[in-house]
Assembly symmetry: C2
Homo-oligomer: 340 residues x 2
């Protein structure tokens, strides 16, 4: 359906999923394009990021942020153009990334902003990149790996959802720091992507490999850092291989569909104790004061050609909710987003 | 049985327990008192510490240290007198704490030493104290609480096995740092000890209380630090109350009898993620370079009357193996040790 220039197409959360949001939990609606009041600016969204966090936003379980209220626009991180402004810090032509929602247009006073898209000296970097490797997913990977994982040269770093938007950046940053990198992923195609595009030293298809044996082979001296985006049985296998002093960055729990209540799995306290391991949950916003330096470093690597990335861009706001389902199916082959 | 002055009575590990060592896994034997060679000293053990670590030492599962070989003296931490020395750093009359084993006499070249008992300016401090609050258990509590827990005034600190040798020191140090302290323990008698002797702000009998509700009442703003000596269902209840940024010190896993393989329990990754909690296994030896300063601080507090402690001392090496069983029954009311 073509974009209207007079109405604001929006995707509304209409019912509460248990677990992963499905198409039927949303409805499309249209409203008037909002006008920025004093101290506000108007953004025309161009790209909508499809993120694992959307599950938590749509559910009511305890989470980072308040759940999205039923009957309101689904929360989403987007990148767009400022097309009108009554805010002193924003001008028409600025590009902004923020939680501007699953809709075409949004007004904001700056509270939904994540960052203004930086000027990279005229380099031609697509706006979509700032929803991925130079945006939240890259920043998340950097903060988790560097501030929690504290990689040292020679460390063995295992990444789950290794070809994913966050995992692929974590793997590459670990490699840039002299680590041995081992990727866990869910198809042979993604194994190839891990090896060829993201430079992992080894990659394992956890769906077909005998995971315990494959990990032992890939990590003969144990796992020093586990960058975990899945939890569940994949993580159980990694936990058995933790080296003394291991660090586990708990960044996501994608392999477990329903956490309320938590499913059972092998207790890990003894593993933590014997390995003197440190497990820590990652919330990127806890490092918000460091985002500018982190983003600058990511941009430097990117412009030097040291950070590969993949995007899978679907067309049109109407496919957004199907894309959320697709994200959890693990079928996407790059940072998933919608162009509108 | 009286101590002989001509033979060395020893307790030998003769079979491998599954889980908690029992009396039948050991045998008493006698051998000649060893003579120190060049570079060695001879210790007459006076007190033998009965520690949760003994389970791990007697089993074969992956652990901090090598399992005790069958047919050899059971590993134990002891405090004793140096009664002969051909080692330049040790003199007759020195008092030493080390893993000198479940026996009357031991020779060592310093590799089994944990520390020489410091001179506290002539203060009359019983030697047994250096197996407890001024020794490994106090040092363990300090290292875990301070270096992993990083307490801040006003933090809510929950301690499991709160009246125990490690837990009671952790609770008191937390209180000295301005924290609110909540003890979990297994009898009403120990609840009273927690409140009256160790100064907890609240104490809960986890065997009789409705633990979820009791924790909510005792920790209305959530748990900032969990000093965990139990794991298992007690910990599951605490995990539900973790505050944002919580730290969990995994010091022991006493409530789970068999860890090989680990029993199932609720998966905790989502809790870690949402709370941005940090869980870390504690191994006191990782902080060995800081032991002197830690022990000095503990001694200062002790001499100032700020650290209460309880000991339960049994008489005679023949009751040592029964004491190990007793430790896991939770019936002891203080740091458990044997005087020989």
């Amino acid at each position: 359906m073509p974009i209207s220039d007079t109405v604001n197409t929006q995707i509304i959360l209409t019912s509460r999923p248990v677990g992963i949001p499905q198409v039927e939990h949303f409805e499309r609606t249209e409203s008037a394009i909002p006008k920025p009041g004093e101290g506000q600016f108007l953004v025309r969204n161009r790209y909508i990021s499809i993120d694992p966090a959307m599950r938590g936003w749509a559910n009511t379980a305890k989470n980072y942020s308040e759940p999205v209220a039923l009957g309101t626009v689904m929360r989403a991180v987007t990148a767009g153009d400022v097309i009108a402004s009554r805010h002193p810090d924003f001008s028409v032509g600025d590009r902004a990334v923020g939680t501007f929602g699953l809709q075409e247009y949004a007004v904001d006073d700056g509270t939904k902003l994540r960052f203004k898209v930086p000027d990279l000296g005229g380099a031609d970097v697509p706006l979509s990149t700032f929803l991925g490797v130079l945006g939240s997913t890259g920043i998340t990977a950097y903060c988790g790996l560097m501030f929690i994982g504290e990689p040292k040269p020679g460390d063995c770093v295992v990444v789950s959802t290794a070809a994913g938007a966050v995992g692929s950046v974590a793997g590459q940053i670990a490699k840039l720091h002299g680590c041995r990198t081992v990727g866990l992923t869910g198809s042979d195609e993604k194994v190839s992507i891990c090896l060829d595009t993201f430079g992992y030293d080894a990659a394992i298809n956890y769906k077909t490999a005998e995971l315990d044996a494959a990990l032992s082979e890939a990590c003969p001296e144990g796992v020093d850092i586990y960058f975990d985006n899945t939890a569940g049985p994949i993580s159980d296998a990694v936990y058995k291989k933790l080296a003394i002093g291991a660090r586990s960055i708990i960044c996501g729990t994608a392999s477990v569909a329903v956490w309320s209540p938590p499913p059972d799995g092998p207790r890990i306290e003894r593993t933590l104790l014997v390995s003197r391991a440190r497990f820590q949950g990652l919330y990127t916003f806890d490092y918000k004061d460091r985002w500018p330096e982190v983003q600058s470093q990511l941009c430097r690597w990117y412009l030097e050609g040291k950070l590969n990335h993949r995007v899978e861009i679907h067309e049109g706001i109407d496919v957004a909710t199907a894309a959320i389902q697709r994200l959890y199916s693990g079928e996407n082959l790059g940072k998933l987003m919608i162009r509108i």
